[in-house]
C-alpha cells in the first residue's frame, strides 16, 4: 500500500509549497492515473514515491510517506529502486549505456544480483515488454515507443512492486503511445503490478485507470476517486467526456464503445443539419501560394527522408502535418524555411526558389518555431528575446509594438521575467512571440504541444486560428489528433517521406482509423469532428 499523509513540500527557493497538506492512499495492484494542469505538482507527487523528492531536489518536507512498508524519506531513491520503478518523460534522457541489453542489466548490476539471476530476469523482461528482437540494438537506433518500452523493461528487471511513470507517452506518436499503454495494462492486469501514471492526454488513458487522482494545484485539495466521478468534476476533459457532460449522459461514457451506445439512442432523435461543410478557405485557390514544394527529395546520408513531396501553402490556411515519428515532418518544415535545400525538386517561398534566396530574405516571409523552446531562448528577459529577433531581421526597436504582441499572447505580466523561469506553456508562447515579432506571413511549428495541458492547448489553437484569420498561413507538425480536429482546416499525412493524403481536415480525419478524433470515432460521420459540431446539430 502507498500512503502519503499530510505531506507539505516546497522546492528550494520557492515560497508557496507545491504540495500542501497532501494525503492519498493507493491500494496494491491499482492502476492510478494522476491528472492536473501543468505545474500543479503531479511530478512532485510521483517523485515523492521513491524519494527523489526531497532527496534529489532538496527543499523542505513535512509529513509522512510509506510505500509498501518502506519509508522513501529514510531510504532515499537508492534504497527504493528495487521497490519503485520510475520511468521518465523523455525517452532520450534516461539511458545510461548504449545498447539495449546493457541498459536492461544496469540496475541489476548496481544491486549486485548474481549473473545467473540476471540472465533469467533479462529474458523475462524482454518477453514481458515484447522487445526480445531489440536486445542487441543500440539505443540511438530505436523509435520513441521502443525506447520507452526499453525504459520500462529496465526498471522491471529489479522486480518492483510499483511502477511510477511521469507522462511516459507525451513525446510519442499515437501508435507508439498505444504500444506503451497496452504494455502497461498487461503488467497491471496479468502481474498485478501497481501502476501510478501521470498523463495530459486523458483520452488515451482514462479507460485503463481504476482510479484517478486529480491534483488541481494552487493549494486546492486533491481528489482521488473512480474515473467517472472525477472526470465529471474536471474543468477540462477529453472530447468524449466533454460531450457526455453537455448531453447529460449518466453514467459518463469513458470509452468509444460506451459512447456509441448513447449515440444509438441519439439516432432516434432528429439531428439537425449540423454544419454544412462549406467552402473551406474562400481565399485559398485564388491567391498565389506562399510556399510551394515541388517534387522535393532529400536524404540524410543514404537514408531517404523526403521522396517526391509536393505541397502548396496559401494565405489563411491552417495546415496540420501528421505522420509517424521519422516520416519526414520535421525535414519538410526545415525545407520550407530554407534550413535544408532539396536534393532534387525545388521549394519556393513567395515565388523565389530557396536555393537562390539568402536565408535572411526567406525568414522575412517564414517564421519557424522549433520543437524545443530551450533551443531558442537565451536572453535574460522575455522583452529582450523579442528585441533580439528584431535586430536579427534588421528591424528598428519598437518597444510598444512588442508590448502589444506580448499582451496578445497573454504574456504582458512576464515581459521582464527570465524565460527559463516560466512554465512550459508560457515558454512555448515566448518562443512563438519571438518569431511573430518579425511579422512573418507563414508560421511553421514543430510539435508545439509537448507538455502542454488542455487549457494551454486550447489557448494555442485559438491564437493560431486568429493568426490565420489575419491571412497568415500556419503549418504545424503534430501528433495531437484532437488539436488538429479543433483547429486545422487541412491535413497532410506523411509516411516514409511521401505525402499519403492531403485534403480538408474533416475528410481526412473521418476517413482514418488512427487519425480520427474521438467524436468522429463516435459518429463515423465527417460532419462531426469536435464537441461543438455535435452540440450545434443536437440543439434545435
Amino acid at each position: 500500500m502507498i500512503r502519503l499523509e499530510r505531506v507539505t513540500y516546497a522546492y528550494p527557493d520557492q515560497s508557496p509549497p507545491t504540495l500542501a497538506g497532501f494525503s492519498a492512499t493507493i491500494e496494491p495492484g491499482e492502476f492510478v492515473l494522476v491528472v492536473g494542469p501543468s505545474g500543479s505538482g503531479k511530478s512532485t507527487f510521483l517523485r515523492s514515491l521513491n524519494g527523489l523528492v526531497p532527496h534529489f531536489y532538496g527543499g523542505s518536507w513535512a509529513g509522512r510517506a510509506e510505500v509498501f512498508g518502506r519509508d522513501p524519506l529514510e531510504l532515499a531513491p537508492r534504497g527504493m529502486a528495487d521497490l519503485v520503478g520510475f520511468v521518465f518523460q523523455d525517452p532520450e534522457a534516461q539511458f545510461v549505456v548504449d545498447t539495449v541489453e546493457d541498459e536492461l542489466v544496469f540496475a541489476m548490476e548496481n544491486f549486485g544480483i548474481t549473473q545467473g539471476t540476471m540472465r533469467k530476469r533479462l529474458e523475462e523482461v524482454l518477453d514481458q515488454m515484447a522487445i526480445a528482437h531489440l536486445r542487441s540494438r543500440r539505443i540511438g537506433t530505436l523509435s520513441g515507443g521502443e525506447k520507452q518500452r526499453v525504459a520500462i523493461a529496465s526498471v522491471l528487471a529489479l522486480q518492483p512492486e510499483v511502477l511510477v511513470l511521469d507522462e511516459p507517452t507525451s513525446q510519442l506518436d499515437p501508435q507508439a503511445a498505444e504500444e506503451v499503454l497496452v504494455a502497461l495494462r498487461h503488467l497491471n492486469e496479468d502481474l498485478g503490478l501497481t501502476i501510478v501514471l501521470s498523463e495530459h492526454r486523458l483520452e488515451r488513458v482514462l479507460q485503463y485507470a481504476d482510479r484517478v487522482l486529480y491534483i488541481p494545484g494552487s493549494g486546492e485539495q486533491a481528489l482521488l476517486g473512480d474515473p467517472r466521478t472525477i472526470a465529471a468534476q474536471l474543468p477540462w476533459a477529453p472530447p468524449l467526456v466533454e460531450l457526455g457532460k453537455r448531453m447529460g449522459w449518466d453514467p459518463l461514457p469513458l470509452t468509444i464503445k460506451e459512447g456509441r451506445v448513447r449515440v444509438r439512442e441519439l439516432a432516434g432523435r432528429r439531428m439537425g443539419p449540423a454544419l454544412e461543410t462549406g467552402p473551406i478557405a474562400e481565399t485559398g485557390p485564388l491567391s498565389p501560394p506562399l510556399i510551394a514544394a515541388r517534387n522535393v527529395h532529400y536524404g540524410y546520408g543514404s537514408r531517404p527522408a523526403l521522396q517526391g513531396v509536393s505541397l502548396e501553402v496559401r494565405p489563411g490556411e491552417f495546415v496540420a502535418l501528421m505522420g509517424r515519428n521519422g516520416s519526414g515532418k520535421s525535414t519538410l518544415l526545415r525545407q520550407m524555411v530554407g534550413l535544408l535545400m532539396p536534393a532534387e525538386g525545388q521549394v519556393t517561398v513567395a515565388g523565389r526558389p530557396t536555393r537562390d534566396t539568402p536565408l535572411g530574405d526567406i525568414i522575412r516571409t517564414v517564421g519557424y518555431v522549433p520543437q524545443d523552446p530551450a533551443a531558442l531562448l537565451f536572453n535574460d528577459t522575455v522583452a529582450a528575446e523579442l528585441a533580439f529577433t528584431r535586430r536579427g531581421h534588421g528591424l528598428p526597436p519598437a518597444a510598444e509594438a512588442d508590448a502589444r504582441l506580448l499582451a496578445r499572447l497573454g504574456l504582458e505580466d512576464v515581459a521582464d521575467r527570465d524565460p527559463r523561469d516560466l512554465s512550459v506553456g508560457q515558454r512555448q508562447r515566448v518562443a512563438l512571440a519571438s518569431i511573430l515579432v518579425a511579422d512573418p506571413q507563414v508560421i511553421l511549428l514543430d510539435e508545439p504541444t509537448r507538455g502542454l495541458d488542455y487549457e494551454q492547448k486550447r489557448a494555442l489553437v485559438a491564437l493560431l486560428t486568429e493568426l490565420t484569420g489575419e491571412g497568415r498561413a500556419v503549418v504545424m507538425a503534430t501528433h495531437d489528433v484532437e488539436l488538429v480536429a479543433a483547429g486545422a482546416d487541412r491535413v497532410v499525412l506523411l509516411a516514409e517521406g511521401q505525402v499519403v493524403v492531403d485534403g480538408p481536415a474533416r475528410e481526412v480525419m473521418s476517413d482514418s482509423q488512427v487519425f480520427a478524433s474521438q467524436i468522429n470515432k463516435l459518429f463515423r460521420d465527417p460532419r462531426y469532428l469536435v464537441v461543438d459540431d455535435v452540440a450545434v446539430a443536437v440543439e434545435p
Binding site: P77, G112, I113, G140, D372, A374, A375, G392
Partner: protein, 357 residues
C-alpha cells in the same frame, strides 16, 4: 556485427604491443613496418563498419599535417652532410643547404604519430569502447560509467548544437564576432545541464552507486598507504627511466613495483563496492591467439628496449648515420601483429559460410 568481434582484452594486448614501436623508436624501417601492420588491421576491421569513415578522415587529417611539416623541417634545418641542393644563403631562415638528413628527420617524426593514430583507430574499430569501459574492475567502475556517459553525451550535444544553430539562424542571427556566440552557447549550456540533471535523476532512481560494504578504518589506512606508495614508486621509476639512462633496470623495477602496489590497492578498494557484471566474454581459440601474439610481440620489444637499447636508436644527423639499422627479430615482432587481421577475416568467412544472409 559486434558479435563476431574478438575479446576486448586480447585487442588491448595488441594495442599495447603495436603502440610500443612508435613510442620507443624513430627508426623509419620499424615505423614503416608498424604503419603497414596497423593499416592492414584497420582496413580489415573497417569493412562494413559505419564508423570507419570517421576514423579514416582523422588519419587523413594527421597525414596531411605530417606532409606539411616535412618541407618546413627541410627548409629550416640545414644540418647534415648529404646535401640535396642549396638555396641562396642570402634568403633569411630558409637559405642554405637542404639535406637528406633533414628530409629523413621530417619523415620519421610524423611516421610515429601517424602510426599511433592508425593503431588507435584500428583498436576502436575492433572494440566497443562502452563495453570495454564496463569491463573495468570494480574500483574503476564508477569512473568507467562516467566516461561512458560522457562519450554518449558528445553526439547528443552535437545534435542540440545543430538545433540551436538552426533556431537562431531563422531569427536572423548572424555570426560576426565572439559576442554572437552567446545566443548559441547559452541554450547549449542550459540544455546540456538539463539533460545531465535528468540522467542523474534516472541513475539515482535505478540504484546507481550500488550497495557499499562497510570497511574498518585500519583497512582503509592500509589501502591508502598502498596507493600512495604505488604512486611514488611509479613516479620515481618513470623519472629514473627518463633521466638516468644508465639506471634503466632500476627504474623499470621501481615502476613495476609501483604498478603492482597500485593494482593491489585499487583491488582492495574495489572490494568495498558490491556489484556484479552481466557480460561474460568467452575466450575462444582466436582470442587466445591474438592475446598470445600481443604479449609475445610486446615482450620482445620491451626486452630489446631494456637490454639492447642501441638497436632502437636512430638519429639521422651527424655524427650518427642517416641509414637505419634493421634486426630481423624486431621486424618479426612487428609483422606478427598483422595476424589478428587475418584471424578476423577468417572468422568472418566462417560466419558467412554458416549464415548465407
Amino acid at each position: 556485427m559486434r558479435d563476431e568481434a574478438l575479446h576486448p582484452v586480447a585487442w588491448t594486448a595488441w594495442l599495447v604491443a603495436a603502440a610500443l614501436p612508435p613510442l620507443t623508436t624513430r627508426n623509419p624501417l620499424y615505423l614503416t613496418l608498424t604503419l603497414l601492420v596497423a593499416g592492414i588491421n584497420f582496413s580489415v576491421l573497417g569493412q562494413g563498419n559505419a564508423t570507419a569513415r570517421g576514423w579514416a578522415s582523422l588519419v587523413r587529417f594527421g597525414a596531411t599535417l605530417w606532409l606539411l611539416t616535412i618541407p618546413f623541417t627541410m627548409l629550416t634545418n640545414h644540418h647534415g652532410d648529404i646535401v640535396l641542393f642549396t638555396l641562396p644563403e642570402s634568403w633569411p631562415v630558409i637559405g642554405g643547404p637542404i639535406t637528406l638528413e633533414s628530409l629523413l628527420y621530417g619523415l620519421t617524426g610524423g611516421l610515429a604519430i601517424i602510426g599511433l593514430l592508425l593503431i588507435f583507430s584500428a583498436f576502436n574499430l575492433a572494440v566497443d569502447q562502452a563495453r570495454l569501459l564496463r569491463m573495468a574492475p570494480a574500483f574503476a567502475y564508477q569512473a568507467g560509467v562516467v566516461t561512458a556517459i560522457a562519450v554518449a553525451f558528445v553526439p547528443q550535444m552535437a545534435s542540440s548544437w545543430q538545433d540551436i544553430r538552426e533556431a537562431q539562424q531563422v531569427r536572423g542571427h548572424r555570426f560576426h564576432g565572439l559576442r554572437d556566440l552567446l545566443p548559441l552557447i547559452m541554450p547549449l549550456l542550459v540544455t546540456a545541464l538539463e539533460r545531465a540533471m535528468q540522467l542523474a535523476e534516472s541513475m539515482e532512481a535505478r540504484g546507481f552507486g550500488g550497495v557499499t560494504v562497510a570497511v574498518s578504518p585500519r583497512d582503509r589506512t592500509i589501502t591508502q598507504t598502498m596507493l600512495l606508495a604505488g604512486l611514488a614508486g611509479l613516479g620515481i621509476g618513470l623519472g629514473a627511466i627518463g633521466f638516468l639512462p644508465q639506471q634503466r633496470a632500476l627504474g623499470v623495477a621501481l615502476t613495476a613495483a609501483g604498478v603492482l602496489l597500485l593494482m593491489i590497492g585499487f583491488w582492495q578498494q574495489g572490494r568495498t563496492v558490491h556489484r556484479t557484471t552481466y557480460r561474460r566474454w568467452v575466450w575462444g581459440r582466436r582470442d587466445r591467439m591474438v592475446l598470445a601474439i600481443g604479449v609475445t610481440s610486446a615482450l620482445i620489444w620491451l626486452a630489446t628496449w631494456l637490454m639492447r637499447g642501441e638497436w632502437l636508436f636512430y638519429y639521422p644527423y651527424p655524427p650518427y648515420s642517416p641509414w637505419p639499422t634493421f634486426h630481423t627479430v624486431l621486424g618479426f615482432a612487428i609483422l606478427m601483429l598483422a595476424i589478428p587481421a587475418l584471424l578476423v577475416q577468417q572468422q568472418r568467412q566462417e560466419v558467412g559460410a554458416l549464415d548465407p544472409s
